[in-house]
């Protein structure tokens, strides 16, 4: 979209001028080690993994502050804050209900996962009654007719919209429009 706007106006396409980009890289490191890197994620227990996720998101929130005037960042902050709130309130992981989880995996697999244990890497299987801030949890699904299913939260929608806005509006930064 950003590229399209830029080429329509015959301007070179550019990314949003993010300040302190190195802070985002540093902020991601704890989460990368606890969630994404296979060599380390099996060695880190749930408590430390939760601490890594929360500290990482706090640092990402810090990274947003000097960039708050860039279009779209405000939506990223809203999404990040929503996810951070619900994660912090539920043992450091994103809660997902057995009903929603049942749409993602087979019942046989779901039976092997006890309530209160991790589901995937960032989620935790919790009943809606025992979930804090349940409206911010992973409770939204893609339409049934799609073959690929994924559960996401209100915060994830805000993040996607914020990233889209930031990329689309980047060519307009510096003009009178923004």
């Amino acid at each position: 979209m950003g590229w399209f706007v830029a080429s329509w106006e015959k301007r070179p396409w550019q990314l949003p001028p993010l300040k302190y980009a190195w802070l985002a890289v540093i902020a991601f490191i704890p989460q990368w080690m606890a969630i994404y890197l296979p060599a380390t994620r099996y060695r880190i227990n749930d408590g430390w993994a939760a601490a890594c996720v929360i500290s990482s998101q706090l640092l990402l929130l810090l990274f947003c502050w000097p960039n708050r005037r860039i279009p779209g960042i405000i939506l990223l902050v809203i999404g990040l804050s929503a996810n951070l709130l619900v994660i912090s309130a539920n043992q450091g992981f994103m809660p997902i209900s057995p009903e929603i989880a049942g749409k993602l995996v087979s019942p046989e697999i779901l039976q092997t996962i006890p309530l209160g244990s991790r589901f995937g890497w960032k989620d935790i299987l919790l009943l809606p009654e025992t979930t804090h801030l349940v409206f911010l949890s992973d409770r939204i699904l893609l339409p049934d007719w799609l073959s690929y299913q994924v559960a996401f939260s209100f915060g994830d929608i805000m993040l996607a919209a914020g990233a889209y806005w930031a990329m689309a509006a980047a060519p307009l930064i510096g003009k009178k429009v923004i």
Binding site: Q14, L15, P16, P17, L18, A21, W22, A24, V25, A27, F28, Q31, Y42, N45, D46, S56, Q57, L60, F63, C64, L76, G79, L80, N83, L84, I87, M94, I96, A101, L104, V105, S106, I109, T112, I113, S117, R118, F119, G120, W121, K122, D123, D138, Y148, Q149, V150, A151, F152, S153, G155, D156, L159, A160, A163, A166, M167
Partner: protein, 96 residues
């Protein structure tokens, strides 16, 4: 022209010739050692390697580096802040 050493015989003359030939390959590019038989090689002393490194790094566009870094930051921001779950690795990895 290599003078033969009469006291030790031909073997030493051969070794001496080979040594000189090797020496030529080493010294020729650095010191301009005269040779009509060996091809010329580029001279890469430490100073020149450093100068070449500086030259190449100056050719990297600073703006391109900044764009790549901003793209990385945005990707990591979304990846780190988001928590969608597709169940792809549930039941495959270790569940604690």
């Amino acid at each position: 022209m290599i003078k033969p050493i009469p006291a030790y015989g031909g073997d030493f003359v051969l070794v001496g010739s080979l040594l000189k030939a090797n020496l030529q390959t080493v010294l020729q590019p650095i010191q301009g050692y005269p040779s009509h038989t060996l091809p010329l090689r580029k001279e890469y002393t430490m100073n020149k390697i450093f100068a070449r490194f500086v030259f190449l790094t100056q050719k990297v566009n600073r703006q391109h580096v900044q764009i790549a870094f901003a793209a990385l930051a945005l990707v990591l921001m979304v990846l780190g802040a988001g928590a969608p779950e597709d169940g792809g690795h549930v039941g495959i990895g270790r569940i604690r």
